[in-house]
Structure formats: C-alpha cells, structure tokens
C-alpha cells in the first residue's frame, strides 16, 4: 500500500438487515474507509461505532454486489456491501 494511496478514502454504501438494522437504527450507512480497506476493516469500523453489535457482527456474513465474500475481500468505491446476520428463511 503506497503512502499516496492511504491518503485517499473510498465511500462504501452499507446495507443492514434484520437485527443489525434494528441495532444501528438505520437500514443504510455511507462509510468512508481508506483505499484498499477490506471487509474486515469495515466490520472493525462498525464495531467501533457500536460495540454492542460486536457479537452479532461476529456471526454475520458479508456480501458485495449480491455475492457472499470473505472478510479479506478488498472494497472499492461504489461497492454495495451488505452485512447479513444469520439467515432464517424457509
């Protein structure tokens, strides 16, 4: 990661559902992160905002542009990131 890049930030649209939406009191967040930030960085940032959700975030999954992704996935400007608490359909 170059020094020049770390000074630039990206804005990620984050969608929240079910218990996570209720805990944050919002269904959508705009989060500014350093360039080359990953899903794990986003989760850390969210934990920092609201430590009460750490447990729930720990069992949630990440999706980017409608696909599940691992936490080390790099995020990009314009990505639509969804944090999915354990699903319960069917």
């Amino acid at each position: 990661m170059s020094a020049a890049k770390t000074t630039t930030s990206i804005t990620i649209k984050v969608l929240l559902f079910a218990q996570l939406r209720d805990r944050f009191g919002a269904d959508e967040l705009a989060v500014a992160l350093p360039q080359e930030a990953t899903g794990a960085d986003l989760l850390s940032w969210l934990c920092g905002c609201n430590p009460n959700v750490a447990g729930l975030l720990g069992v949630s999954r990440l999706a980017v542009n409608c696909e599940y992704v691992p936490a080390d996935r790099e995020l990009h400007e314009g990505d639509e990131v969804v944090i999915l608490p354990p699903v319960s359909g069917g």
Partner: protein, 149 residues
C-alpha cells in the same frame, strides 16, 4: 407498491396457492413429483405465535435461489423445478415456502428437493421475525445457537 419494480421470480408477497404445483403441465417423461411445503408453525421455541414476518434482501435472494435451481438442474436430471418463498407477514398454518420437483425417478426428485430447501435455509438472505398472539414481536433464541450480542 409494485409498479415499476421488476417481477420477482421466486419471492412473492402474495399467499402461496397450495395447488400451484399440481397445475404444472404434465410431462410424459415424469416418473416422480415431489413437493415440499414449509408451513408456519404455531409456536417459536415454546411460545405461541400468530405469524412470522419475513424480510429479504430481494436482489440477492432472487439471484441466489436462481443459482441453486441451476445447480440442482446440473446435478440431477430434472424436468421441472418450482420455488416460491413468501415475504411479508405469513399467518400460522400458511405456506412460507413451496418447492416442487418433477423428474424421471424418485431419487433425483427427493435429493434435489432436499438440496434446495437446505440451501435456501442456509444461505438465502431471508430473515423471519415471530409475531405473538398480541401482535408484539416475540424474542426467540437463535436456532443456530448464535448469541444476539
């Protein structure tokens, strides 16, 4: 308001008609027809409920169910596959999910049906909230053993 929204293929806000699967066109190749109905039980944990309210992340849910249907069609020789899942409030006794499979042989139909319901319950972004008899939300421990916090 549905005007201007693309039609959903697998998710529906409307009640699921339990005869939907029986009205599928007959196919002379069929030797087996398997139907799974997921119903709303009158209790969640030990608590009586009136309904379940289902919410979804619609674009991802539609896409994932579509991928699972494609995967089932690739793994087994299926003639017809139907998946419908309710969103919104579903009263006790109503159908929350319907899966229909037609194939030449019962093994294929049973296995594909089991694969689809298990995949939907494991991965598709749909969440339920239990509504009590008094209309209030019923807090239920997560079936997966997850702590809420």
């Amino acid at each position: 308001m549905t005007e201007g929204r693309p039609l959903m293929e697998y998710l529906t806000h409307d009640p699921i008609d339990r005869f939907t699967w029986y009205r599928q066109a007959a196919d002379a190749r069929d030797g087996a027809s398997v139907e799974f109905l997921g119903l709303v039980r009158g209790t969640e944990g030990d608590q009586p409920i009136a309904a379940l309210s289902y919410e979804t992340y619609e674009p991802m849910a539609e896409r994932m169910i579509g991928k699972f249907v494609e995967e089932a069609e690739a793994r087994w020789d299926l003639h017809q596959v139907l998946v419908q899942h309710r969103v919104g409030t579903v009263a006790v006794g109503e159908i929350a999910v319907l899966i229909g499979i037609a194939a030449s042989h019962r093994e294929q139909a049973f296995e594909a049906c089991r694969f689809l319901i298990d995949a939907i319950k494991r991965d598709v972004p749909i969440w339920k909230t239990a509504i009590g008899i008094n209309g209030a939300i019923v807090e239920v421990a997560c079936a997966h053993g997850h702590q809420a916090q």
